[in-house]
Amino acid sequence: MKPRRRRRWTRWAKRIASHVVLIIACIFAVFPIYFIVVTSLSTLPIAGITAHVLLPNPSQLTLSSYNTVLLHESPSYLSLLENSLIFSGSAAAIGLLLAAFTGFALSKFNFPGRRTFVYFILLISLFPSVVMIIPFYLMFAKLGLIDSYIGLIIPYSAGAVVFSGILVKNYMDSIPDDIEEAALIDGMSRTEAFFRVMIPLCLPVLGLAAFLAFMGPYTDYAYAHVFLTSSDKWTLALGLYNINSSDTGTQNYGLVTSFAIVMSLPIVAFYMVFQRYIIGGLTLGAVRG
């Protein structure tokens, strides 16, 4: 009788302890989002916000910041969103295609210098991308690519290839060679085998790579700031900074936070669409499908 009761006790203690930890972790994760949401619904100056966040007064909640952000800012939200989608979408598409080829070549082809090449790419990916801004800028200034769409899509795609190429290579390494060989025997050329067998098999990692390749340019400030001068090509990240540092002097947190929320909506949508693949891609090591 006694031991069993003690066991029940420890089980309860464990359960309570784990709940406490999870609740604390949850607060850490959720509170900033809550903070931003409540702030975006108010027009209070910075001083009043903390009290308001802890104890929101329903009568002071308003959508006026959203109204301003979406309809009365210049450049307009839609123009910023359009530019962001152009940059991120192109970088994700180009980067992904190249990364698929790169990963395939590095994983399944035998050519001299393959290992060196892999280490070289790994080495590049160790550098923070910001250090490459100056050389890129000088190079692209010579080529007349500053302040153009293509001029920014190139470095964005390059970044995606470096990172995703390795990701795809590692995934393809885990696919046995004889599956591709079976396709060759089945009457396919290597190109056909690539598109009809390898690509479908790599969908999980390609989903993850696409998401990361999209997120990078979408949230990038440094490159966009340096490369884009005319405001009609600005991205959302630049727009956010613009609101934050507008010349009214006092920073309007309602505007900044509501902008941040509408800016993150496309990412959330993107994530929900590709969730199946992204989660598959993140758990590659653990369970192979």
Partner: protein, 386 residues
């Protein structure tokens, strides 16, 4: 369908030679088993036939066509991989249909142009083959949802449905457990009898090789040692390796010396003395005997050696006896020597450990090998045992 000819095929990987000057001619419709230990180059030979690997030197013919420069897809060969290599993302049905979907055939109305197979044509073929292999009920399942035996059938179906020139099978049964394995073996044999297509089957299991092959090609260290019918490889092995590799239980070898004794020659191994002829000079010689050619009796008869049972391996329908054989009865050895160990295959439960027995064998069945393992065809036992 066609035969396959390998002409002096050698394949080197960096430093090691995986296939060493192999020439082999496989007839149209023949079932040839490539038998060899792990790492002997069996898979490499198959891959060279399929075009997945390019030989360093030599030529491959499929039918009468020299295919050295052909891509795998242009050789129209089907292969069943050891791992089956089914497409994990496709259902069994799509796995089987996959090759048909990329295939192009000449158009009926205009033979100079080609077309894909129609949906109905593909469906008909897939269902036909699935029926034949008994997998019609599981066509919608993914490979991960199939058992090992079912996967093996899907892999076979994928090969058969394409109606290829020849089938290459790389240890297709080795992933199955013993019970389904012997069934699968019989089914495969039936399948071959029904299709009458060229089969090249790789295995390291000599029982599998014996039951399946019209001919066995025995390879070791990349070399083709012998290619013959199962009966011939058993009765006329070209060398000691083949003799020991085929036949179960393994052949018994007596490594001894031939000494010249008063006008003739005698094989000497410990207390065992056997008069032999056909040798030119004394030297090291090995006599090989099949365990089922060794007679074990309870009573002494002329020409037997006395011995003792030291161990019994019960194989089910028969027993393998481990025997220590000493001098022939009556003869007093001049120098007491360590007894000679033999193995014999006898009816089950006739003997037990510790039994005193008398051992004899048919002199005509003994094979002679020299110190390098080569067969000494001319040697034989000259007279019955003393």
């Amino acid at each position: 369908m066609s035969g396959i000819t390998l002409q002096n095929i050698t394949k080197r990987f960096k430093t090691e030679t995986a296939v060493d000057d192999v020439s082999l001619s496989i007839q149209d419709g023949e079932f040839v088993v490539i038998l060899g230990a792990s790492g002997s180059g069996k898979t490499t030979i198959l891959r060279i036939i399929a075009g997945l690997e390019v030989q360093t030197t030599g030529h491959v013919f499929i039918g009468d066509v020299l295919v050295d420069d052909y891509e795998p897809r242009d050789r129209n060969i089907a292969m069943v991989f050891q791992s089956y290599a089914l497409y994990p993302h496709l259902s069994a049905y799509d796995n089987i249909a996959f090759g048909l979907r990329v295939r192009r055939i000449p158009r009926e109305d205009d033979p100079d142009r080609d077309r894909h197979l129609t949906h109905q044509e593909i469906d008909g073929k897939v269902r036909g083959v699935s029926q034949m292999l008994g997998i019609a009920e599981m066509l919608q399942k993914r490979p991960s949802e199939l058992s090992g035996g079912q996967r093996q059938r899907v892999a076979l179906a994928r090969a058969i449905v394409r109606d290829p020139e020849a089938f290459l099978l790389d240890e297709p049964l080795s992933n199955l457990d013993a019970k389904i394995r012997s069934n699968a073996r019989i089914e495969l044999k039936r399948l071959h009898q029904r299709l009458r297509q060229t089969f090249v089957f790789v295995t390291h299991d000599q029982t599998e090789a014996m039951t399946l092959g019209d001919r066995l090609a025995i390879v070791n260290h990349g070399r083709l040692l012998q290619c013959d019918t199962p009966e011939r490889t058993l009765s006329h092995p070209l060398n000691q390796f083949v003799a020991s590799f085929v036949g179960s239980p393994e052949m018994v070898f007596l490594e001894g010396n031939v000494e010249s004794t008063g006008g003739g020659f005698t094989f000497v191994k410990g207390p065992v003395r056997i008069p032999v002829r056909g040798t030119g000079s004394p030297g090291a010689v090995t006599i090989g005997l099949r365990p089922w050619d060794i007679r074990v009796e309870k009573a002494s008869t002329p020409g037997t050696l006395s011995g003792r049972v030291t161990g019994v391996e019960r194989l089910g329908s028969s027993d393998q006896l481990f025997l220590d054989v000493a001098s022939p009865p009556g003869a007093s050895p001049t120098t007491p020597a360590a007894p000679v160990s033999l193995r014999a295959l006898v009816r089950a439960y006739d003997f037990d450990v510790g039994d005193g027995v008398f051992v004899g064998f048919d002199p005509d069945r003994a094979l002679f090998f020299n110190a390098e393992g080569g067969r000494l065809e001319s040697m034989s036992i000259s007279s019955p045992l003393p």
